[in-house]
């Protein structure tokens, strides 16, 4: 997966080099504190090969400091890196037009204050762009809270933001277009859907965004009620019926198995997948949230220890807490199997 992500980055930059005059990377290019040396070398090469200016604002996952990847030697000459948590700028000329790119860097995993001063006004004779890692969703965010009011009167044409992976729709702050780029490729179910980068046409007083889809894989979730299923093959049938026909061919699908099953049935993901005719490219992981209470009305009135076991666990089986319910379900299954002298591990 990481190799594919690297290659995707290379592919995105190669595509961009064909039609873009600059690149804005608004933080978290590297998602972890550690980056393999090969990855660093690869990224440097890709950015260097891009040729045109690249402006980078380190984010909270890849802050700029002495031990960070940003300090791992020289970066290509076309890479302009913000290194301070104070507002900085790079002046350049693109297609004959003077352009100023404003920005800052996270120098630690947290940044409590936004560097943009109140009343900030950009250079009137230049095209002004802000490239930064910030959080517009909360004024008490610890990741550079940036109220839109700070840039409303700035006169900037465009603000390229990073931090919120599930990018909201672009908005206007005064005349400034503000947008989160999102993610080029989801890396988990917290980044569901299509990956993307933004191609932005910026002129004096105007910015126009075009979404450029990227990514080789999508993450998606599915709630599957398997009430009444008594076997993995039955569950597999239900699964196949529930998967939409138009599902993206390369999808990682998290299936939440829910509903009531008999206490003696515990869904086995491997066996379900073996029985399910799932297309290649669709990877499925299961989360078992079934409740082993199907037919449990018998257990409720069962005078034997089975019934006692069930009645003892019933309050937990109906708990609001998912973990509590899961624990009780597992305990009920295990208890019944143990009582039946069947293997339970």
């Amino acid at each position: 997966m990481r190799q594919a992500l690297r290659e995707l980055f290379g592919s995105i930059m190669r595509d961009a080099s064909l039609s873009c005059d600059a690149a804005l990377i608004s933080g978290d290019l590297f998602d972890q504190g550690f980056v393999s040396p090969d990855t660093v070398a690869y990224v440097k090469k890709v950015l260097g090969d891009f040729g045109s200016p690249v402006f980078i604002a380190p984010g909270n996952h890849d802050p700029y400091n002495t031990a960070s990847v940003w300090n791992s030697g020289a970066w290509p000459d076309n890479v302009h890196l913000f290194t301070s948590s104070s507002l900085g700028r790079f002046d350049t000329e693109i297609e004959g037009q003077p352009v100023t790119v404003w920005g800052w860097a996270f120098t630690s995993p947290k940044l409590d204050d936004c560097p943009i001063p109140a009343g900030f006004t950009a250079e009137p004779d230049r095209i002004n762009i802000i490239c930064a890692h910030a959080d517009t969703s909360s004024v008490i965010s610890r990741y550079c809270p940036m109220p839109l009011s700070l840039i409303e009167g700035s006169g900037c044409e465009y603000t390229a933001l990073g931090h919120i992976h599930k990018a909201p729709e672009p908005v206007y702050a005064g005349k400034t277009v503000v947008s989160y780029s999102g993610f080029p490729q989801g890396r988990g179910w917290d980044e569901p859907g299509q990956g993307r980068v933004l191609y932005v046409e910026v002129e004096k007083g105007r910015a126009k965004i075009r979404i450029h889809p990227t990514g080789f894989r999508r993450y998606s979730e599915l709630d599957l009620d398997i009430t009444g299923s008594g076997s993995d093959s039955e569950t597999a049938e239900m699964l196949c019926a529930a998967i939409p026909d138009d599902i993206y061919p390369q999808t990682s699908l998290k299936v939440y198995l829910c509903g009531a099953v008999t206490p003696s049935y515990k869904p086995e993901p491997g066996k379900i997948l073996d029985s399910a005719a799932v297309r290649d490219g669709i990877d499925i992981v299961f989360v078992d949230e079934t409740s082993p209470v199907l037919g449990a009305e018998y257990l409720e009135s069962d005078m034997s220890v089975r019934g006692e076991l069930y009645r003892a666990l019933l309050p937990r089986l109906s708990s609001e807490d998912r973990d509590e319910r899961k624990l009780a379900s597992d305990a009920l299954r295990i208890g019944l199997l143990a009582l039946d002298n069947k293997p339970f591990v």
């Binding site: 990481r2 972890q32 504190g33 550690f34 980056v35 393999s36 040396p37 660093v40 070398a41 031990a67 990847v69 300090n71 791992s72 030697g73 020289a74 008594g230 076997s231 093959s233 039955e234 049938e237 008999t262 003696s264 049935y265 037919g295 009305e297 018998y298 257990l299 009135s301 069962d302 005078m303 034997s304 220890v305 089975r306 006692e308 076991l309 009645r311 003892a312 666990l313 899961k326 624990l327 009780a328 597992d330 305990a331 009920l332 299954r333 295990i334 208890g335 143990a338 009582l339 039946d340 002298n341 339970f344 591990v345």
Partner: protein, 817 residues
Amino acid sequence: MIIRKIQIDEFGGLKNVCIEPDKGINIIRGNNESGKSTLMAFIAFIFYGLPSKRSETDRTDRERALSWTGGKAAGTLEIEYCGSEYRINRSCVLGARDSVSEQRQIIDLATGTEVFEDRQPGEVFLGVSQAVFESVTTVRQMGVGRIAGSDLGSAVENILFSADETVNTERALKKLNAAKVQYLPQRGGGGRIEELTRARDILKDRLIKAETNSVYIISLRSTVDKYRKVTSELRYKLDSAKNACNAYDSFQTLNRFDLLHAGEKKIAELQSEEKKLIEESGTDGKLPDRAYVEKLDELARRLGKSESELAVTGAEVRGKQSEQSGDSVRAASAEDISAAGGASEILNVYRKKLGKSGRRTALGIIMLILGTVGASASLFYFVPALGKLIPKLTSGLSFGLTIAGIAVFIAGVLVLRSAGGIKKTASGLLSGYGFENDGNDRKKAAAFADYAEDCAREKALRDTWKKDFDTILTALDAKKRETEALRLECILELAKFGYCKSPDEVLNSHKEAPEAHGIRHRTQIRELTDAELFNEILGSEDLSEKLISAAGSASEIALKHEKLLSDIDKYSESVRASRASLAGFNEDEMRARLSSEVIAALKKSNPSALRLEREAIETQLNHAGSKLTEAEKNLAIAEHTYENPARLSTELDAAEDELDKAKRLCAAIMLAHKSISDAGDSLRRNITPRLRARAGEILSGLTGGKYREIGVDPSFAVTVATPAGTKQVALLSGGTRDIVYFSLRLALAELIFPKSVPPLLLDEAASQLDDGRAAGLLKLLDTFSSGGVQSIFFSCHTREANILERNGIGFTLTELN
């Protein structure tokens, strides 16, 4: 509950089977594979439907249930329940993909209407799960087997503590505990969770290390890159500096080549100058040198000295000559005398001669006498008369004597002559000195001696003068010769380099142009004397002055030549050294390489500055190189031990998941254990006493009060109160154990089915029993039936029917074909 009618439309291998059991004991007899088990399964099917496909057993049962021909399971059960009669219809049809479509109905026979819609009959009429129903109401062969053995205790215990014969709470708890201990031992360390925790922690440490190492490697790589770049730049600079130094060296080398060529040119000039000098001032390709000059100087000095000495010597000679002393005549006489051996010798000889002369004279005389005498002998011969005077004198003898006398006479004459000669000689010895023979030899001798002495004295004087004079003369001659030789030598020496003609030149010129020299004929050409030669060569010039002049000139030339040679040597040495040092250099290539502009620039360069700069760059390069080497070494070490953090992170996530799963599982096991333990305690508190009490009642009823109570001792062993005391069930007879077992089964059934106890279904229950125990069992069933409990006995034997008949127990027999 009483089953009134069993109607099988299709179920497994049975089709259109109808059985109407009675409310008491029912024997359904059939051969093996006649469908007895199928019949039992049908009853469960009507109440609970087809088993799901969830387990292999269930699938097997499901397949067994569906009709072998039509894939259908359908039938009806009519029951009496709590005073009402119901018909339960159920039909299952196998559909596509192994699916089953089911229809069921519960019909109230009194009203003919469907009741309890959408409810399972099992739930309505039994209120327990199929498993409970089967475990409580069904007695199979295996259950029977246990009755006979010690497992009865287990069955009874299970019923008491689990209210389920098949469930052993203690065993379940042990299994759960054993499983839990595997994950979480109570004492000491170990366990799966600890293993997984340790593995997780190790991975965490490795990840931290890998992250640190990754950062370190990134840092090292950047350091390596930095120093590589620095060293590359420094190498480039060093190359430039070296090139500059090399260019300057080349420039210097070219300068040296220029100097070399200048030197060669200079040598050529000097050699040309030398040649010219030789031509102008040399002879036979040679020039006068210092040695020649010194020679000339020396010759001049010597000549001067020699001439001076000659003059002095000449003067000495003249002086000496004028001092001539001593009588020359006498001196000459002295010489003669000396030549003759000296006066003494002369006198000696004179005397000897005189003496000899005298002796000879004497002798001569004697001889004459004798001779005469002898000769006179002849007279005797010739005069015979005389002969006779001497008789002995014979003729011979006389002849001999005559001869002899003659001889002697002659000899005497000779001797006298000789004596005269000798005397004459002796006189002559002195006469030469003026001493004539006057007969006084002695006086003469004395005078001669004086004369000789006198002569000797004169001679001595003269000799001394002569000696001195001769010496001086000799010296003069020698000096003359020396001077002449020296002059000749000077001439020759001068002639070497043309300062004068050489004797050969003069001679040759005489030969070549005799007329010029007044020689009329070639035959007149001769060797010139030294004087002539010198005259011809020098003329009126003074040889010494000539020498000095020549020496001066030669000195000049020699110095000039020496200077030239010295310069030539100097330049040659320099050129040689330059050539040697420039041996490996290709001048043409260097000139081609260094353009005039470059050379012009190099002229303005400071070589020291260039070298200093190169050295400085070399120092920097060495420093950077060692830094690079160190960084590369550290990088190699780090990369050798590098673990990919991304991979480790994935492993760590997996380890966390596994640990989490294990913890959850352990928690579930522990909760199950606790819950079962609590359930068991609850049962023992609530159900077990009731179960024991009711079972005790039933037991007492069945045994006529003989066995009244069923209990549990401190070790949880099931006991029975007997008249003889409390005994463990295992120690009782087989028949008693049967009664205890069935009492518990019935008590359990009453507890579980409080409304209406369903029929007991016995499948070959008595097959392992002897007739007595079988009879006992059947009697028990009869007792139960009097309490309203229906029992349906499935058997392939007729024995049970026979026993019932023999014991007068009423029953209903159905044959299955």
